[in-house]
């Protein structure tokens, strides 16, 4: 564990246990530096984390203040890298609807995954559950060039686990896009909702550490799962 993570953890614990209360001022940088026996920039890095998490607010000239705790049930978009990441305390399961190869990807797919002509992809469709409750429908496309094998068995578990462990592909970054929309009849059926219900349409492209796209996924969420929080500054 890194030093600044350790300092952040210690201060976070004080905040969560109410030692520092909402609206109160934290000790000054100089003080924290002495308290934890670290340099100024290490304290600053630790406080940056807590600021992103929405715990504190730093104000030049006046001090470091404790913010109100976030309402529970909302996903902090600034700390969870995306959507599914914030759900690790829950049991995520999947029902596989379809696994197949697509020989002639359409132009959208070619664009999103930077496909060369003649390149093919794997298609996986799943319904995902959180603690036995329906969460979302996921349609994923994988480049065969990077993911040469895919099966229903793999799709039942964590596809990313498989990719990292067996194919030694290091996941680097991803682009996320989302917008408001309504469910069509087919989607509504799978999510136990009514045709035309409001939803969040979510797209994500995953890249390797050296910038090669290998997965494009489209997700539609069950309405009540889509609740977000952003701790904003200025």
């Amino acid at each position: 564990m890194l030093k600044y993570e350790e300092v952040a953890l210690k201060i976070r614990t004080l905040l969560e246990n109410g030692i520092y209360k909402t609206g109160e001022r934290l000790p000054s940088l100089e003080q924290l530096k002495a308290d934890y026996h670290v340099s100024k920039s290490t304290v600053i890095k630790a406080l940056e984390i807590l600021e992103k998490e929405g715990y504190i607010y730093q104000s030049r000239g006046s001090g470091i203040f404790v913010r109100s705790p976030k309402r529970s049930g909302y996903i902090n978009l600034f700390t969870s890298n995306g959507f599914t990441d914030d759900l690790k305390d829950h049991r995520i399961t999947s029902r596989v609807i379809k696994v197949c190869e697509i020989k002639t990807p359409n132009t959208e797919l070619q664009q999103r995954l930077h496909l060369t002509k003649q390149e093919t992809v794997y298609y996986v469709q799943r319904v995902r559950y959180i603690d036995e409750k329906v969460l979302c429908i996921e349609k994923s496309y994988f480049r065969r060039k990077l993911i040469p094998y895919m099966s229903e068995d793999i799709a039942k578990g964590s596809i990313f686990q498989y990719i990292e462990d067996n194919l030694k592909i290091n996941i680097g970054y991803s682009d996320i896009y989302f917008q408001i929309s309504t469910l069509n009849q087919e989607e509504a059926l799978l999510l136990n909702q009514t045709d035309g219900a409001p939803t969040l349409r979510y797209e994500q492209v995953f890249y390797t550490q050296t910038g090669v796209p290998f997965d494009y996924s489209q997700i539609v969420f069950e309405q009540s799962s889509a609740k977000f929080y952003i701790p904003s500054i200025k």
Copy 2:
């Protein structure tokens, strides 16, 4: 302008003008340090900004890579402080529906604004337009203790401009919550949409620099305006 902002600006310009192309590698930290005559940590701070904006991705051991440009029309949630901030290139106008004082705020309001008993608030309801097109309905509540005067004239323009300039209140931070929902009949009418259309319900509490809440706002957005982008890592 700060040094790291200047370096970020220069590199951003190179990225936007296609001098560095998608997928390519940027010069190494050591090189950039020499190029711009700054220290290592200044380069790192500059690159952090560009990473948050989604321009680049830094990979320990292998280098700094150029990411695909984000699709236009989507709001980057990591750089815009909230929603309306990303819209400064557009003309925002308002139609004031109501301005009044609320003598007996309900419990939700008391909670959100940390009101003492007997404290009153101003209520302002507006429909907001972007380039003459309807954008959202906004219901705002201001603590009279901090905002002692409010009028239709002020509400026609930028309320925050008025607060900063005339009342010398420094805005510190804010909490944002949002979720998927549907429009009710009254809202649909104001937004030229149909009853039950999908929407984004958005709440924001603004605090001063020393942590005092002074504004709670509820916003419902017109469907097509709610498109987001998140440049994610790992």
